[in-house]
Symmetry: D2
Subunit: 357 residues, 4 copies
């Protein structure tokens, strides 16, 4: 056993083959361009490997408690990797546009859009085909190799991580526990909150009629928003503007509100890790867009896209867990929060004494 053999270094270090060398007009920075992309692909492979952990644990019909910690660990690792991938853009930005121009034409029509692993990551995390920004009216798969297209189509037909998380949320225990129902308790708390707000508006002598009406309309709009998840018209489908079904959102809200309970700590960390990943991917896209703008200005990309614009829009639109961010809309202050009944709280804690077990 030897370091070089173990890591297959002879092979690894021989597969940087600049086109500009092959064509006899070497461009020094093409090596950098190749290496940075190869490094990205290595890390994409690692991310896919971590997603396996989540897929295996979050099956359709069961999640073992002892596995949630492993999944959180895998997702946290993906976040750490993504953080390095964001920083790695700093390296590519040391390549100037003029240096890129020396070999850019040799790459056409190859393009980062053809990274099959990156597309797998998007699909497996749960980017929905209909959410994708149109790309010259073609499928995002059209430029990939046939083998990659087949794999992506297969993945699209399977449950994504977002799907699995939704299914898991729908099964959350304690949301309904014996005679207690979180939805009822929370609905009452929200109703009380709004009633107080209406009362304060009505009793406020400083408001003129127009201010009074506007503030009341604001309250009504907020009440409408809450109906996306509380007592929805049809609880079996997601409300407009949402991905997850009301009961899944309600469970996620429950986890966020009572996260200090030991039984909810890991679920809470899991939801947070998903938001971290979503945010880091968006940040990566944003920085990627700026880097492309710096590199090619207003030209189109080697793959034929509008370059900067495509990437900029994807930073905004290609989100998977936007629902979890939007949940903040439904939080109410701790002071107004219905306390957990003792028997629910007890069920969510460990019993350490022999007699209790």
């Amino acid at each position: 056993m030897n370091y070089a053999d173990y890591l297959k270094l002879d092979q690894l270090l021989s597969i940087q083959q600049p086109e500009s060398d092959r064509l006899g007009r070497p461009a020094r920075d093409e090596l950098l361009f190749i290496i940075v992309h190869q490094a990205y692909e290595l890390w994409f492979k690692q991310i896919l490997n971590e997603l396996d952990v989540a897929d295996q644990a979050f099956t359709e019909d069961h999640v073992d408690d002892a596995d949630i910690g492993k999944v959180v660990h895998a997702l946290d690792r993906i976040a750490v990797v993504l953080r390095v991938l964001v920083n790695q853009i700093d390296i590519l930005e040391t390549m100037t546009p003029l240096d890129f121009l020396e070999f850019r034409d040799l790459l056409i029509p190859a393009s980062g859009f053809q990274s099959a692993q990156f597309r797998q990551i998007e699909v497996r995390l749960g980017l929905m085909p209909e959410a994708r920004i149109s790309f010259n009216g073609q499928s995002y798969k059209s430029k990939l190799r046939a083998i990659d297209q087949r794999l992506l189509s297969k993945l699209e037909s399977q449950s994504s991580l977002a799907d699995r998380v939704e299914t898991w949320l729908l099964r959350t225990p304690f949301v309904v526990w014996k005679d207690w129902d979180f939805e009822d308790a929370y609905s009452r708390a929200v109703a009380t909150m709004f009633a107080n707000e209406r009362h304060m508006i009505s009793e406020n002598p400083e408001l003129d009629q127009e201010q009074h009406d506007r503030q009341l309309r604001n309250v009504e709009q907020s009440e409408d928003a809450f109906r996306s998840i509380l007592q929805p018209v049809d609880g079996t489908v997601a409300a407009p503007g949402w991905r997850f079904r009301p009961q899944a959102l309600l469970a996620a809200l429950f986890i966020n509100l009572y996260r200090d309970e030991p039984a909810l700590q890991l679920p809470y960390r899991l939801l947070t890790a998903l938001m971290d990943i979503d945010e880091l991917l968006s940040t990566w896209r944003h920085r990627h867009a700026l880097m492309v703008q710096r590199m090619i200005g207003r030209k189109i990309g080697t793959g034929g896209s509008s370059g900067h614009d495509y990437l900029k829009n994807s930073a905004e639109k290609h989100r998977m867990f936007g629902d979890l961010f939007a949940l903040a809309t439904f939080l109410i202050p701790r002071s107004a929060l219905p306390p957990l009944p003792p028997h629910v709280q007890r069920a969510m804690r460990y019993q350490y004494t022999d007699t209790a077990s």
Copy 2:
């Protein structure tokens, strides 16, 4: 002389006064909220101090060569500070929406929009009033204190860094040097490049009529783009979609193309530093927008803005040096670049021997 007295620590550490404490319902994370904003304001003060270096060196009518290094140093420092400010968002993101909710209402209508120093930075760098995203139809200054409004109005009437840089670019030596004129030489090189492209399209037997026509239209569009800076209709005004006048863009292009010449190294680094600052500010806004989304979901901000949407759009629109990014559009490969005549090149280098001086 003592560390605590020198740094005024007794004062510094006594001006974190949470509203939630004052009102008798302490919210633990309000201290974090105050400290992170105070840290931002300290760094904003430092950024403004560095902008003084640039303002003093880049006067309307003269820039001393020995000062350009100092300005590059000041701008690079701003970039390093901004990098920390981006990372600092990680700290604020450790505050959860539920923790924020405990004191959020107490802050209304105070808002980060009222940071006078941040507005000064924007104005002094060169964010133009007409480029600002409308904010409920009101001036961005309307919510600020009168003293801050006056200062900002005064700054708006003065030259920004972008203005000063444009003036400096217009004076760039060597762009025209004795009998040599960069614009002529570059125009010829560009014309040759396009003629070659047209020729290749016409002679390509594999193109059908439609492809042939489309490719020719692409070439025509590129030629049009070049006319923004080469032989413009009116060289005294900026072309549509540009901020800088054609001659300034031409000088910036010259600096980018011949940056290896010792005399152009510092100007090149200065332009790069301006792009770094622009990019970091945009990244800060992007991350800020995501953080706000995580914190308040789809609610409106404490200052009354649409929160996430406003910040998201400003990450895209509140750019100062977009022209420098767009310059990449005009680069041509080094192989097609007109070489500097020897007498121009000689003028741009040092003469080390006694006899030469």
Copy 3:
């Protein structure tokens, strides 16, 4: 309520008062020097505030399970703050030695050694007085203000976070549970492992006498090491080279080995957070030492210390949770790990069904 008033900006931004200005020979970078230190002190205040969370939860005689998540959150936040403080050194490094020299003499004998808050952080985390590197034979407190000295002496007489964590570890449930005793089970597994190793050495025909003896001695040394925590001579005192008592180390080992059990996830994350903090503080000291070397070369510091050397050594010696790192010495492969008996494992999981509660 107004942003500027809320943050006390008028006061905050008026307490940067460079000595060089006061003396009429302004040194531009003294502002940077003041601001970077003030930013450090603001963050130190926040760190101390987070340590309060841990102190309140980890009392001498009880830790509420619902509080462990809060403490992990507070410690993780400290780590995020420390990461920014490490990056902040990048800003100070933009000050060149020559620029520092313009005002360095004015600071004597003030020094960062006098940061009372930093000393509080060290003491409260658990840096032991006897572990401190001697500083010209004087107490580290000698240069501080009397009020700060008194506070530090008081803190030294109280339990540090390390003390509290040790006490908490000593109470870890499940290490002994009904008829099961982790120490016995682990001791047997370790004994079996060593017996196997001895057997393999004895039966290996390729070893000559000298190799045979050396490998056996290695095994004996490893066995000795294990006796620091397994069946120690005196379990009531820490073994030489260790801070924590054997039973606390054993509990930490138990937590690390069976971390996938839901009941151990938060304790595991707590131990990890302590190591992160220890590592980040060490990295901060290391980078601080390099920065000082760059700034003053081989001169002595303004406070009279040997500057670089002191800081360099403290990066190595001023550790609080080295025991947790050293625990890795005692891990055995999962394949050799004694499985948890079903009744122990069951006790460490939640029971979700009504009947079980």
Copy 4:
């Protein structure tokens, strides 16, 4: 041309072959272990490529001015890469000691010590064989493959970057220019400074005899230190404790002191970039040492080293450009600095007018 073919993805993504898989007892984190090391090796290759830029430009007998900017760019890029490599340790730290233990034994005796590319980087930057920490009394090359040993021996016999930089410094123009000699001027300024200090000590009525004597001894020690570079006993050899010869140090000092002169800006940035690289390598070693401690505690490394201790010491001792840090010792305040005579300053600036060229 296709993304996957261009980057040789089929090969790249097929050379992660965990030993644990081959032996039929898969350890999930071995993939991470392989990928992080392969990513390191890719970046090492890029660093070596950048060192080529420096080697080609900094030949023994000539450096073209137009190349210095390119070398600074290459060195700055190395620093950006190293910054990512430091951050990449965060990823490896997500692997827990227990997970590492599952495959650690399978690697013996392979070890990161066998990274031939890392050794090349050390040698080419200028780490001197005699400065290397002894490693069980064997050469650092002894565990490498024969082909790697030969390459390293060859590199050791060639000029390192440090050697080339020293040669270049020795040729620095303007240090002596016509009738002006920097060494003379600076020696006089230093002598005046020390005379003033002696005078102040002698005239200070508050000092007792012992303080008086001690302060005088301090001045004498400082004067001795200056003699390492000013009027050294033998200018052709480096003084004890230094790597560079006095004239090279003097030139580096000159560059630092008068860095605002346009002609010295790039040389100044080059020296700064070398310090950045030195510092980042040291920080990488420091973090690597902490990571190893966390991973294996007090065990020895797979390659047989003392692991943490070796790495910890190398962070301190394996420095290449320590002389440049130590130069700060010799700086004197700008107010005491001898001004450049006008004819020297003029020679160090550009002449923009036709008549001047």
